[in-house]
Symmetry: C2
């Protein structure tokens, strides 16, 4: 085998790299213990020390070697997160462990009920984190937790930024000022859903006009929907906003995100979700995603339809496992039905989106979910042999 | 301290979680050795076994405890990558280590010259990876390596996907077919820069018309630029394309990406880059980024201007370190000059973009780089007290 040098024009080395080397060194665990073992005796005093407390309510691993090893890795991820956040100026963030068996009294006192979950205690709220137990994903989530629950939109560029954020449930309201009692109700509602649902507000009449919002009115946007739903009955009290969001909290199309990758499956209907794999940074994947969005927009009133979009780029370590388990090739877009309980993916349509002479024609005529068997799900895909004509 | 339960409407648990638990379990290292120690004796036979060989050319760590610990962590990241890719069907990807001191003969034979870099041998090309040594980032990069170097654009949605990819250098050409000798020259040029520079082609006259491309013509897009530059002198041979790209390989505005986070600093001018921190998913950050893009577009002909955009969301573990070292608050956008050799960030403008009564008015009048001292860089930012009027 012969290897030749290739000139990589863009990446020639011209000098020293100190900033690149030192200024960008991803921190590694320094070995210092920062994560507390919470017990009935110490948990109150430990929690008092911090503005935000992150508690991992974990299985008891005594006597199980492989579970112990797994737990050690999880503990290290928490230690690294604690170490990194130790440097944070404005907030004291503490980390603790509660053992399902040894510390059941603490779990009961704190109201922890789902083992293997992380509970974040901040500002009199408890937020359940059911995402990847990796330091970077958890730390990024915690930055969102400590941010204000309502973001202000004050000019056209910020408005463009608001429209750009289309992957989450978001709300936007128009109020007279931050002191308005109606804004305060809105802000209180935001705290209930923070940071999973994004709340925006504007106090600027020009921006409100562009958003077609009347004073004290709030619009609700499902992920990937262009048109919002105006919440009826303005001005609202907190409970009315909370009720509306709870009634509309099952989006037709959602993106799987590392910070919530486990909880997204929990609102299945008879154990089923439609799953679509599409790489947004690839022309085929982008094309397929556009189609998915159209389908979701046209069928947003169907309460049984739940499509979960997975971008394989966000989960590189899972790609070979998914390909092997589900017999699919993730270099092209794929769609199928997941059976949540069986760890299966049924009825996969392998779409030769970029195959020879076969072109996706952009028509999905009917989505029909029956919930009893593997053929639960019929997605009629229409192909055409020539899009070019 | 009293904690109350909060009803998180979206995330109620309704059932079992097997798919979420098992189908989405991020793999952990199984302890099996897969990474080869390459020596003068074995390297040829080891490399013959694989389609793609990933070689970490590392420092010798004998006798240095902290370097040994660091190296162990790096080795584990490579082992996990090797384990995950072991499951890949279509390509055999091997991993090897070359010790700077013990294996200098191998390094010389293979042409490895930058210690602490990863060299990827694939299809008679050597690709230098100078990104984060983390399993997920490396594995994601390797998926790009094994993809075809030229992507086809065949319909309007794929064209939209092409325009959506604006963070990298990209080229697009219009050719008669894949068999056209001009396409073959283009494909050969693509291999030289793959996967850092993205190459697209269309064989569809309708798409070519939308791209304003004549037959056998290639357009070059700098990152974040709306208008391409047409490469003069069509039809081209490979060397002409390569020359053009090498002459235009220093974009005015670039995004720092984990897979190339160390090499981006290497083309500094007198050790300096402008660095801008902006969170795209935040209205303020989005706004600031829009302004940066405008500045870059207006000043794209200035060969001395290099702005590196860092989205803190992509580097959560580095945020507290940057905030502490450079005395900045990354919850708002920041801009400054980096001295590559000193690990310093000078002349930071702390922009109270969302401060009381101060509004970014969207005017950056002049960018002027002098390269001798800390006051190298003058960015005149004009604020207005009232954008609302």
């Amino acid at each position: 085998m012969k290897w030749g040098w290739v000139f990589l024009g863009v990446f020639l080395s011209l000098g020293t790299l100190s900033w690149g080397e030192t200024g960008l060194e991803i921190p590694e665990y320094d070995g210092k213990d920062r994560v507390h073992d919470l017990t009935a005796k110490n948990y109150k005093s430990v929690m008092k020390k911090y503005d935000v407390m992150v508690i991992y309510y974990h299985k008891n691993v005594d006597g199980n070697r492989s579970a112990m090893k797994q737990f050690q890795i999880e503990e290290l991820a928490l230690e690294l997160a604690a170490q990194v956040l130790d440097d944070l100026d404005d907030e004291d963030i503490g980390f603790g462990l509660v053992d399902e068996k040894k510390d059941s009294a603490v779990a009961k006192k704190l109201g922890l009920d789902e083992v293997e979950s992380i509970y974040i205690f901040a500002d009199n709220e408890i937020i359940e984190y059911d995402g990847e137990l990796a330091s970077d994903t958890l730390v990024e989530f915690l930055y969102d937790v400590i941010e204000d629950p309502v973001e202000n939109i004050d000019n056209e560029r910020e408005l463009k930024g608001f429209h750009n954020m289309d992957e989450v449930i978001k709300l936007v309201g128009y109020f007279k000022s931050e002191k308005s009692p109606h804004f305060i109700e809105y802000d209180d509602a935001a705290e209930e859903f923070h940071p999973f649902v994004k709340f925006y507000a504007t106090f600027n009449p020009k921006i409100a006009k562009k958003l077609k919002l009347k004073m004290n009115e709030v619009d609700f946007y499902e992920p990937f929907m262009e048109e919002p739903v105006t919440i009826p009955g303005k001005p609202y009290i907190e409970a009315e906003l909370v009720d509306f969001i709870e009634e509309h909290d099952r989006p037709t199309l959602r993106k799987l995100e590392p910070h919530s990758m486990y909880e997204i499956w929990e609102d299945d209907i008879d154990g089923e979700h439609i799953v679509a794999f599409a790489e947004e940074d690839d022309p085929d994947g982008f094309e397929f995603l556009e189609i998915l969005k159209e389908v979701a927009r046209e069928n947003t009133d169907n309460p049984n339809l739940s499509i979960i979009w997975i971008d394989p780029d966000n989960f590189p370590l899972l790609v070979p496992y998914w390909e092997k388990t589900f017999h699919i090739d993730l270099s092209s877009p794929q769609i199928g039905v997941v059976d949540v309980e069986d760890v299966s993916l049924s009825c996969v349509q392998v779409n030769s989106l970029c195959g020879e002479g076969i072109h996706w024609q952009n028509k999905i005529l009917e989505i029909n979910i029956q919930t009893q068997d593997c053929f639960a799900f019929f997605l009629f895909l229409f192909f055409s042999n020539d899009l070019r004509s």
